[in-house]
Every structure is written in C-alpha cells, then in structure tokens.
Amino acid sequence: MMLSSGPGVRVRWDRRIERARELGDKHPAAATLLSFYEHVLRFQQDVAEECNAPAKGMGCLRDEIDLGFAASKIPILLMLSSKHGPKELARHAEEVASRNRSNWQEILKSFALAHRGFNENPFDSFFARVCLQAIAETLQFQFPADANYFGSVCPACSGVPQLSILRPEAEGASRWLLCSFCLREWRFRRIICPWCGEEDKEKLPRYSAPECGHVSVEACDRCRTYLKSVDMTIDGRAEPLVDEAAMAVLDLWARDHGYAKMVPNAIGF
C-alpha cells in the first residue's frame, strides 16, 4: 500500500517510535538495541519535520538532498549517540565531533552518491544513513509511483532494498521492498532473489521461527545473500523498519549459516 502522500510526517515517525517501545518490552533480548533505536527515531522525526522542502524536480532524488541542512543536524546526532549509544559508537561520536563541518558534509556527500549506501567505516555510514534517511523519505513522496516497476532497486533513489514486506492481498500476500536509503516501498515479485535474480525455488528458502513470528529470513543459496521479511499478513500492526531491526537475532542466525545481508540496517545489523 503505497504511502503516496503518506500520513503526516509526525504520525509516521510516532508509529515507529511507539512500535520500538512496544517491541522493546516484548523482546528483552533486543531491548537495548531498541531503546537506542528509539532515540535515533526521535532524532529522525525532528529532522524530517524540519526539512519538508519541495523537491526541485531535478531528476535523481539524491541530488535533491540539501547536504548543508543535513550537516547542521550531525552534532545533535553525535551528542545523542555518545549519550545513549554503545561505548564503541560513543567513542567514534566524540572523534567525529572533533572534525570540522566540511568533513561532515564530505561524509554525507560520499554516502549519498555511493548508490550502494555503504562505505567501509560502519560508524560514518551510521551517522550519514540516519541523517539522510529522514530527509530522503520526505522527498521520495514527491516521486510518482509506477505500478509496472518491478525492479530490484528503489524507483526513486535507486537505493538498495533494506527488507522485504509481505502485504495481504486477496488469498495471498504481495511482496514489497523497502529502500535502505529513502525508506520508499515499491511492489516487487515473489520467489525471486532481489540481487542475483535467482528464481529456482529450491535455492530460495525462507527461514522462520515461532519466536520471531512474523519476521523471517528470505535467503538465496546462489549469491548467499538474505533479506529479513516482515509478514504483515500475520501482524498487521507491524512497522517494517522497526520490526526488522528488533529481530536482530535472525541476523546473527543468518550470519552463522553463511548468509550475508546486502546493507546493514540503521542499527548496524
């Protein structure tokens, strides 16, 4: 269900924050992750509310992003990470804080244009991703939805999909992908690997566990990559972004079984 105009900015982020808290209580093992992620979401909510400047319609979404504005938000994020984040992240936050402003803009620029949404330093990419995601999402609403687009990269910013969503449709569920950069959802096909296009069903297992209920691992045995899939036909109130992050245990399981994720989510899994 395309969030074309999407509910108000605030409501959209509120739902994710509420969901993070709710899952935090339900899954003690992921409680620490989620409490930190709640802070990150709150930060992203403020950024998103402030920046809903209309897109100048210059084609690719990534050029639309006002890097100056993004850079101005980095300090808040750094302070937040050092206060609430894990020790490693806190240490890097101080180190980044010491660099000057143009360097932040540089990180953001390289991250934004990298198209694959990831560079070597997990911490730099964390700061960049969290900051740019909020801005990119408000922009992507201005890009029209194309019902016939079934590509495996985001139609708006050609970003890499973060997770897959099974939305209820008739007697089954249609598969949607959520972009790791601009959080846009677009309709995709079932029983196919988004990376290598593998369609042999024997190579596309789906691993699920009763404890994780509606979140499962959609893996591909050919390119050994996986995506976590949120099944909205089981829990209609799930918030894909947050539910995927909450089930970090599946990421560990997948890694132990030799699968790799194409791009880590906001909290590094």
């Binding site: 016939n148 687009y149 079934f150 029983i191 196919i192």
Partner: protein, 841 residues
C-alpha cells in the same frame, strides 16, 4: 480464446451464451465484473437456465437447449438489416466481397448443394469461390457419377472473383443476407422459445456498439461447452465467429471470440494433438491416399486464394517445414530424407476414431484394450452404461488415477451381480499417479498462455509420476520388440527417446524438444541471424522442411529459446494497461496475446480506437510496432492490402467457409438436436443435421416425444465441484453434498412434486435418480406452439466418492442419460439438450 482473460476488462459489450463463467470460471469472471464496473459494459446472457452469470447480467434470455444457431442467425439478420457493421472492416478484412461459384445452393430445404442421401455426405466441390475467367473453362472437370477412382479433393482457386460494392447476387455478403433472411424474429421465437421483442431488444443492445459503423467500441462473445456439446456445435461457434467478423470485433482489445476451456490443460491437449485426427500443431493426420510425404504435403498445404490485388500471407504454406520438423522430433536421426522422414511409420486413418467411436468399436469387440491416464470414461459417457458394457468385453484396462474412480471399478458398478462380476474377464491395472502439486510441466490456459508449474512435493506412498509410468511401459514394450521382434518394430525401436533419464523423462527436456532446435546451422534470410546446430530455435520462422530443424510442436516454437524458458517468466508488468502482460509466461503463437490484432487497425494501419492502441504501422521504422506482438507480416506495408487473417489462404476472415473446411455447410444452418421435441420449423423435411453421426449398437437408442420423452434435459457443472475430482474433497462435499435435478416450479406443481423429493429421470438409454430442486429459475417455454419444460442435471456424482461411499447418493452418474450423437466436425457428443421423462420415485 482469440483474446485473453485480462483483455475482457477492455470490453464495452458482452454476449455470454453457451457458457456459465460466473460458476465455472469465478476468478476469470472478475474481469467481466471489472468491465461492468469500470467501463459500464453491458452483459447479455442467453442460457437454458437462469444461472449465477445471469444474476449479474443486464439482460437474460431463456433459450431452448439446442437452438442457439437460430438466435445467432436472427442476430446476423438484425445486424444486416439495421446496418450495424463497418463497411471498411467488412469489405477488406472478411471474404464478404468474394463471389461464390455457380451451382452453390443455400439450404432453403435444409440441404446444401452436393448432398448424397445414401452415403449421408456432401460433395463439396460447389462450395467454392468463383475463379476469375472461370466462365471460359471449368477449371476442374468432374462427373457426378459415383467416383470409381478417387477424384482429387476440390481446391481453392488462386485468383478469386470479387465485387467490392457487395452487390453481386452470388457475393458472400448477399448470400449471407439471403441465408439469414429466413431467421426473422417470429421464426426465432418459434424455434428458440424466446419472445420476439426480448430477442430484438437483446440484438439491438449487442449490435448497438456498431451503430452506423462507428468503430470506437468493442464487444466480445464469451462461450463454453454449452455451444460445443451439440450435434451442430461447431456451426454454432462458427456463427459467433461470423457475428464478430461482421461487427468488426475480431482482433480488437475487448473483442474477439473467447472460448472458456473447461479444464486447466484442455487447450494444451488439443495443441499437443492428444486426439485422433491431428498431429501436434494442428497438422492433419495422414490418410491412406497419402502414399508418401509429398502427396501428403500437397494435400495439406493450402495455396493462397485471394482477389488479385490483395495479398495473403497464407502462413499454412509452411506446413512442410512444420511437418518435417515434427517428424525429426518424433524419430530423430531415423527420419532421413531417404525414408521420407519416416512418414510412413505414422498410422494412416481412413475413418473417424473419435471418443464415441472408440467406445462403439470396443462395444463391438474391435477395440480390445484401453489405457486411461486421468480420464474417467465411465463417468464421461456419453451413454455411460454402454461404456461399462464395452469395458466388460475388453481384454485389459490400464487406469492411472489419483483417486478411486468409476472407470477402474466398472466391474463392480452398482447393479453388477457377483455372477456377472465373475464373467467379466477384463484385467484392470490401477496405477497410482501423481497429483498436480507433485509434477512440474506446462499447463495452457484458455488464453493460450503456456505456464510452467513447479513440483512442490514428491508423490506420496508408492505413487509414480505419470510420465514415468508411460515411459516405463513404452520402454518395456520397446525392449520386448528388441528381443522378440514383431510387427513393424522400427517405429517403436527408433522413436527418439534420448532423455537423460529415459525411464522418467524430465519434462524440462521435453519442453525444450517441443520448442525445437536446429540440427544444422540455419539462417533467416530477412534478418540474417544464424542459429547454430543444437541451439534452441527462437521462433517457427526458422523451421525448415529439409530436416535441418526439429520441433515437437511448431506452435510452441519460441517457448524455450536460448534465452531460457519463456514459459517460466513471471514478470507481472503490463505497461500498456490493456492486460497484455507480455512478460508473464508465454502465449502461443510467438507470445501474441490478442490474435488477429492487425484487424484492430484500419486500412492504413491506424488503430480504430486511439485509447486502446494494440499495434500500429510506424511509417518511420517501416514496420508494425505496438504493445502486443503484431499478428502479421512485420514489414508488410498496409498499402499492400495483406489480409489480417494470416492463417487463412484468403488472408481474410471467412464469413463463407469454402470446400468443406466445415463439414455441414459453408453457412451455419439451424438443425434440431438429435432428440428433439419438434420438427425443424425452417425445413421440416430435413429436421436434423444431415451428416451428424448416430450409432447403431443395440444400446444406442434415441428417444422421441411420442415415446413419452417430452422434457428437454441439459447437463452442467457447479462452482463448488470440479468434474469427478472434488467428490473426494470434504470441503467441496460440504458445500454441495448431494446430486440433484433442477426442475421448473410449474412442472413440479403439475406433478405435485416438492423440493427434496427423490425423482427418476429416464432417457431412452438409462435412468438417473436424485433429489428434486424445484426452482423458478427455469420457466416453461412455448416452442413452435408446444409448451416445453427443461430440466438440468449437474454431473459431479458417480459411484465412488465421499457422499457416494456414505450411501447418500443413488450412485447413478449423470452421463448414463446422454445420447451418443456426435458433431460432424468436432465429434463432440450431444451432452446438452436431449429428451427425458421425469417421474417421482
């Protein structure tokens, strides 16, 4: 279907007749409702019963079963009288302008010219076009005396006389007008029982899309076996084709003639020629007169027959390439140029071996054994009791099924005493086959989409895949011929069976073989692309008749190319929005989704309806372009006036069918069903179809009204059940638990019958016992002044199933009743519209 399921959403007008899609194709019916909701499309339903399709229709007309041609003839008459056609489409895209030979006679008295009463056949030489300059010498002299030596069958004149002004008394248009001038509303009311003003209202509605030739809108005709299962079923469907040609609907998005096939792979079974009279790809079976390949090819390869100025692609001219490629596929290296590509190893048929004839022969002791892989002969009938008796005379019967079925247990059918059982010497092998989810392979749906399906689970228990069972039997027979020899072992030994696992051929390899591959380098002159040896062929344009290519079915060439399995593609995109979905699986021929789509453009290649552009002539590229694959010669400029119907020798649609392509006459004529209440009002002397075949065995009796059979009976299916399968599924048995007979309320009142009481329906052959469903949905009708009642029987219950085993049914299959009278072209038995008696049990 000429169009497709999703294409129905584009239509503006629908005639749903001879079919009940709401009940038998519910998920396909979604598109009818889509058209109704989004395009305000009108639905006209004509059916002997008020069905669930009728419940959402705008107009419903109750018709007497078996009188469809009368109603459709009346529609043609109405369209012609009210100028409801487009002149340009009619003249250029149909053979309306062709002039018919001297000596052709319309069937005022029920018979066309050339009828031989004793042999009950037609001499079809007069059913032909007139050749230009024919007056000087009769091109083919033949005498009317009984032919001692076989006279060559009549052929189409290469150069046909025509009159574009459509005024010539013998031009097809005038003959059409004259033929259906007899189908006045009054006559239609007498035959069909439909009140004349309701018929006129329906005709007016359906032809309203072509008000004075305006081509913006498109109308479609949706039908199913309600039309096919009659003694002149093929002609009924021909009438629909003629209507759609006349109204200019063929080739249009939302137009065409959409046949709803009943089962998941009936279309595939006909394409693959699982039937006696054709070879895969609708190639004709050889007859004894075809002494060698060349004679066979000259007989079966048509030559173009058109007005001089026009152009006709006449694609069947490639028959030699298709045939040789097929023979190479069947016999591989053993098929060489020297042995005529093993042509003579094919059996040659001198008569009909259709379904009803097989059972007749078995009953007469000619056919000794049967292998039934997934077909329940005893339940299908017709005249199923005769099938049971026939099986009792057979040597052995092999049944491959997934549920205990009636055919494999004919020897303990209800009413068989232990003594009789002891006297039945048929050995019956019941082999457990695999269910649909346990085997892969291709299904072809009504819309000609070949869709591969993947096996989900291995067969349970000791079941084997069907292809493995067949392969093991064939290879065991081949082994025996190798050791002990026997009659003509060569074809058996040399049939190409080189699969990686011969005992269980992988269907993927077979699918590749169906697509066909090059045996030597093959180049296509026009696009000079070369296909190396052993590479899959991209399309049937590459097939050659010199044995350098092979293809199991030329129609499927292009389904599994070097680029991979087109039939496994699952991209749901449809950029055109017309429901074409070009990248979802593959539709024959050449992934063309709407056939004859050249006819969706006017003479200079511009689409009639700019909102629904399928294909168009792009002047820039000098090629036909479009959202769909053009059903045309890609580079043929519209100015060359090549007809849109590339498969016909004439290149244009056939309002008039020459030289017996349809056995019972160039124009459909209403004939009464085999068992009918009245004499044919049009021509009482020739009431029935003169060449519809009846059977003479002692079990084949045909009821007449004066023997007391005065109620018309039709058989049909329900939404909740699928033929004879779902009587084994608890959920479906719960939805509709028991067999019943639909009886009109007035008839029930007359007999003092209440709903739920047991009734016995008796036909001339057997009886059927079930509970009465008294309904107001079938009303009495006045047919030719006689008050007639119609009843309906669903076919889903036999003597093995959940309800049957629990003793809740009378264990009498519906097809005990149906008559074994078959259609002269399609040989389909007359399941719908025979006479019965009705009494309380």
């Amino acid at each position: 279907m000429t169009n497709g399921w999703v294409d129905i959403k584009n239509t503006d007008m629908m005639l749903i007749m001879g079919g009940n899609p709401a009940e038998n194709h519910p998920c396909g019916f979604k598109w009818v409702i889509e058209a109704k909701r989004n395009r305000d499309a009108k639905i006209v339903v004509v059916d002997p019963r008020f069905t669930r399709t009728a419940s959402v229709a705008d107009q419903f007309l109750q018709i007497r079963a078996g009188s469809d041609i009368a109603f459709l003839g009346g529609l043609i008459n109405y369209a012609l009288a009210n100028n409801r056609f487009n002149h340009e489409y009619l003249v250029n895209y149909t053979n309306a302008a062709f002039i018919v030979k001297e000596g052709f006679k319309l069937p005022e008295d029920g018979l066309y010219s050339g009828y031989d009463a004793t042999a009950r056949t037609y001499d079809k030489s007069t059913w032909n076009y007139e050749e230009v300059g024919a007056g000087a010498h009769a091109s083919d002299t033949h005498s009317h005396a009984v032919q001692s030596s076989p006279v060559p069958p009549p052929t189409l004149p290469p150069n046909v006389a025509y009159d574009l002004s459509l005024q010539h008394p013998r031009c097809v248009f005038q003959l059409l007008k004259q033929q259906y001038s007899r189908y006045t509303p009054e006559m239609v009311e007498r035959i069909t029982g439909i009140p004349r003003e309701r018929a006129i209202k329906a005709w007016e509605t359906f032809t309203s899309i072509r008000q004075n030739g305006d081509m913006k809108k498109a109308g479609t005709i949706i039908y199913a076996v309600g039309w096919t299962q009659h003694s002149s079923g093929t002609q009924t469907i021909r009438t629909a084709a003629m209507i759609q040609l006349l109204l200019g609907n063929v080739g249009r998005a939302g137009g065409g003639v959409n046949a709803l096939r009943g089962h998941s792979n009936i279309q595939g079974a006909t394409d693959m020629a699982g039937i006696f009279d054709i070879l895969p790809g609708y190639l004709k079976m050889p007859v004894p007169a075809d002494t060698d390949l060349k004679t066979y090819l000259t007989r079966t390869t048509p030559k173009a027959s058109k007005p001089k100025e026009w152009d006709s692609f006449n694609y069947w001219s490639n028959t030699p390439a298709f045939t040789v490629s097929l023979l190479k596929a069947l016999y591989g290296d053993a098929a060489t140029k020297e042995n005529d590509f093993a042509f003579n190893w094919l059996p040659k048929i001198d008569r009909k071996y259709s379904w009803a004839e097989i059972w007749d022969d078995m009953y007469n002791g000619k056919v000794k054994a049967m292998m039934a892989f997934g077909m329940n002969g005893v339940m299908i009938g017709p005249n199923a009791k005769k099938n049971i008796e026939a099986l009792k005379k057979a040597d052995f019967l092999v049944v491959c099924e997934i549920y205990p079925d009636e055919t494999s247990e004919f020897w303990r059918a209800p009413g068989t005493t232990p003594e009789e059982m002891a006297k039945i010497n048929t050995t019956v092998y019941r082999l457990p086959g695999a269910g649909f989810a346990e085997k892969d392979g291709t299904f072809v749906n009504s819309a000609r989409w070949l869709q591969w399906k993947w096996a989900a689970v291995p067969p349970p228990g000791d079941c084997r895949l069907d292809q493995e069972i067949l392969a093991r039997i064939f290879l065991k027979i081949r082994g025996k011929y190798q050791q002990e020899g026997g009659k003509l072992p060569d074809p058996i030994l040399k049939a190409s069976w080189n699969y990686t696992n011969p005992n269980n051929p992988s269907l993927a390899e077979v699918a590749k073989e169906l697509n066909g591959k090059a045996l030597a380098d093959v180049t296509d002159p026009k696009t000079n692309t070369t296909i190396k040896a052993d590479q899959q062929l991209p399309g049937f344009a590459f097939l050659r008749d010199d044995g350098s290519t092979m293809s199991g079915n030329w129609l499927y060439c292009g389904s599994w190319t070097e680029a991979g399995a087109m039939i496994q593609r699952r991209d749901p995109a449809d950029p055109s929005g017309l429901g074409i979905h070009a990248n979802w699986a593959w539709s024959w021929p050449m992934n063309r989704r709407v056939m004859y789509n050249r006819a969706s453009c006017d003479l200079n290649g511009k689409p009639w309806d700019p909102d629904r552009k399928q294909i168009w002539w792009s002047e820039a590229k000098q090629k036909w372009a479009g959202n769909d694959v053009p059903d045309f010669k890609p580079d043929s400029d519209p100015k060359s006036h090549m007809g849109p119907f590339i498969m016909n020798p004439e290149g244009v649609g056939r309002l008039f069918v020459p030289i017996g392509a349809v056995a019972d006459g160039p124009f459909p004529e209403h004939y009464e069903p085999t068992e009918s209440l009245i004499a044919n009002p049009l021509h009482p002397s020739q009431s029935n179809n003169p060449i519809a075949k009846r059977f003479k065995s002692d079990m084949d009796k045909y009821g007449t009204p004066d023997q007391g059979y005065n109620i018309i009976c039709t058989t049909y299916r329900l939404t909740e059940h699928y033929h004879y399968w779902t009587k084994n599924n608890p959920m479906n048995v719960q939805l509709v638990p028991e067999p019943f007979v639909e009886i009109p309320a007035e008839l029930a009142d007359q007999m003092g019958l209440r709903g739920g009481e047991k009734v016995k329906v008796t036909s001339a052959r057997a009886d059927y016992i079930a509970k009465a469903m008294v309904t107001k949905r079938i009303k009495p009708m006045m047919v030719d002044g006689k008050k007639t009642y119609q009843i309906g029987i669903p076919i889903h219950w036999g003597y093995r199933g959940i309800a049957e085993d629990a003793g809740k049914t009378a264990k009498t299959p519906a097809n005990y009743l149906s008559p074994a009278a078959i259609d002269p072209n399609a040989y389909t038995p007359e399941f719908k519209g025979f006479l019965v008696k009705l009494e309380r049990v």
